[in-house]
């Protein structure tokens, strides 16, 4: 069996959070493996520990206890060098929530170049990477625009291009869609899916929006600092009761089928999209 790209073992993290007077955000005994090339959606309500988990993966935070292996390297090892750390950050890129607070430059293409410049890449190679990254996210025509004039979805795509230009193997989206309108959200989700499908980049998408989770290969629900549910979207969303207990919602159609089966109607409970649901229900009614 191949070595998973990311492997975390028994992570414990206590958060001395000054922003909150009555909560102590904690990860307790979180263990998880993520395969190379997969599209994993991490779901959880605010304060479930999902964002903390993301920040541990490229050592913005470090755990109190437990091990984190990225591509076989133990990044929690106290002996780890600064160079190793930067190599991890290159391999595991991160896109954040607020689109405004992650763009550094006043011109789109110069922002995309920021990462490769930090890595000391050759100028001609930077140029090539910047152009192809902007192409990938569909922002080529905005290359010389000022970021503050772009829409939220466009800014996030520029931020994504800035990460792609560093040629990462994995990108973590830390609630990158939370501040966007439906259109911006769709733009970003399409870009994410494309990166995963066409470039084989491992995607870890952190969100509390279940519509987005439906598109992933695998959904991991984190609740109270632990892995609460883990499986394909169908497997996870069929646990309507459990999800609600974890402060999450399910798609309306899933809820309907769940309700119907509670009323004694003999229908499957793992329906996610309306087409599939309509197909099954109409066939059932004609029986």
């Amino acid at each position: 069996m191949s070595v998973p790209f990311i492997k975390v073992e028994d992570l414990i993290f206590t958060y001395d959070d000054e922003d909150s007077i009555d909560k102590h955000y904690v990860l307790k005994n979180l263990s998880l493996e993520i395969e190379k090339g997969s599209f994993v959606c991490v779901l959880g309500h605010n304060g479930s520990g999902k964002s903390t988990f993301a920040k541990l993966l490229n050592m913005i935070l470090s755990p109190d206890e437990g091990k984190i292996y990225i591509d076989g390297l133990d990044i929690t090892d106290p002996e780890i060098t600064e160079d190793d750390l930067f190599e991890i950050r290159r391999k595991v890129g991160m896109v954040f929530q607020n689109p405004d607070n992650q763009l550094v430059a006043t011109i789109v293409e110069e922002d995309v170049a920021f990462g490769p410049e930090n890595l000391g890449v050759e100028p001609s190679e930077i140029r090539r990477r910047v152009d192809s990254a902007l192409e990938t996210v569909g922002m080529s025509e905005y290359a010389t625009h000022a970021p503050h004039r772009l829409s939220g979805g466009q800014k996030q795509r520029v931020a994504i291009a800035g990460i792609i230009a560093m040629q990462p193997e994995c990108i973590i989206f830390d609630e990158s869609t939370a501040m966007l309108d439906p259109q911006g959200r769709a733009e970003v989700m399409n870009t994410i899916a494309k990166l995963n499908r066409e470039q084989g980049i491992t995607v870890i998408h952190i969100t509390h929006n279940m519509d987005e989770a439906v598109k992933a290969d695998r959904v991991v629900v984190i609740n109270e600092g632990e892995v609460f549910l883990d499986g394909t979207p169908k497997e996870v969303f069929s646990n309507v009761e459990k999800l609600r207990r974890a402060g999450l919602d399910v798609p309306q159609v899933t809820e309907l089928f769940y309700d119907l089966s509670n009323h004694g109607v003999d229908l499957p409970s793992d329906i996610l999209c309306e087409e599939e649901g309509a197909e099954i229900l109409s066939a059932w009614l004609k029986k």
């Binding site: 007077i21 605010n46 309306q252």
Partner: protein, 287 residues
């Protein structure tokens, strides 16, 4: 009763310059008492401009804004009082908190209205109750609250001004399902008790279907549709044609109908859908 009325309102940004942009065209709407009005549309459809016209932060380029039958553009109109009577909660209102304690921050609006101490105190407690903010937070710095609690404190700050019309721009933006539910539920019960006019700007069709009595759909700076939820959501094709969504459950019912099952398609909540389907199944499900 009609509280706010817009007659033939147009609004143009940067009139007379090359940056001239029509934000609103021919707006004719009425905001009524005892009603939650949902305002829906894409980013850039003119919603935000419209909202600022309603309490005199902006004035129409042409046309009239009437509050309680009086034209607010008229000479000598008391704009300060208008802003007390038409409360406006901006998007991400937590960024406007500034006082030392939560209590003082909620008091800022009522204080500006010149109310006496006891009345201010009464209103603060009442508003906090509506948004579900416990009194033990009153003496805490607003910056030590969690994100969701900050949002509630900010909304309470406007509710405490006891406006005749309360306008909220995306009150649930960025919150997780529980947070959304609590904020929108709080606003709903506030309105049902106060029986005043509430306007909620939102992108979420599902939320609007649940909480609003009347809908105004904007597109390209114009009123595209208006009516009650059933009227609006029954015209799914029209909504989809301008890239707006309808609740997933509505799409599901349409899909079901297209598969030859004779069901109603003007359904927009899961409860209704379940009832409709159970009635079609009749006794079969329990057999």
């Amino acid at each position: 009763m009609t509280k706010l009325k817009l007659v033939d309102v147009n609004y143009t940004y940067s009139e007379g310059t090359p940056f001239r942009k029509d934000a609103l065209r021919n707006i004719n709407i009425e905001i009524e008492d005892n009603c939650i009005t949902g305002l829906i549309g894409h980013t850039g459809c003119g919603k935000s401009t419209l909202v600022q016209l309603l309490n005199g932060l902006l004035f129409p380029t042409s046309g009239e804004v009437m509050f309680d039958g009086k034209n607010i553009k008229e000479k000598g109109y008391d704009l300060k009082t208008l802003r007390h009577k038409v409360g406006l909660v901006f998007q991400y209102p937590e960024y406007q908190l500034f006082e030392d304690t939560v209590y003082d921050d909620i008091a800022f609006g009522p204080k500006n209205m010149g109310l006496d101490k006891d009345e201010i105190d009464r209103r603060i407690r009442e508003a906090a109750l509506f948004v579900g903010l416990e009194e033990r937070y009153f003496e805490v710095s607003p910056f030590d609250l969690s994100g969701g609690q900050k949002r509630r404190a900010a909304i309470a700050g406007i509710m405490a001004m006891d406006p005749d019309v309360l306008i909220l721009d995306e009150p649930a933006a960025g919150l997780d399902p529980i947070g959304r539910e609590e904020i929108l539920g709080g606003i709903y019960s506030y309105q049902r008790k106060r029986k005043n006019a509430v306007v909620i700007v939102s992108h979420s069709m599902e939320d609007m279907a649940r909480y609003s009595d009347k809908l105004i759909v904007m597109n390209g700076g114009e009123v595209f549709m208006q009516g009650n939820c059933r009227e609006v959501f029954s015209e799914t094709d029209k909504l989809l044609s301008v890239g707006l969504d309808v609740p997933q459950i509505t799409k599901f019912m349409r899909e079901l109908k297209s598969k030859g099952v004779d069901v109603r398609t003007d359904i927009f909540t899961v409860d209704e859908a379940r009832a409709e389907i159970l009635s079609k199944i009749g006794g079969r499900g329990n057999a």
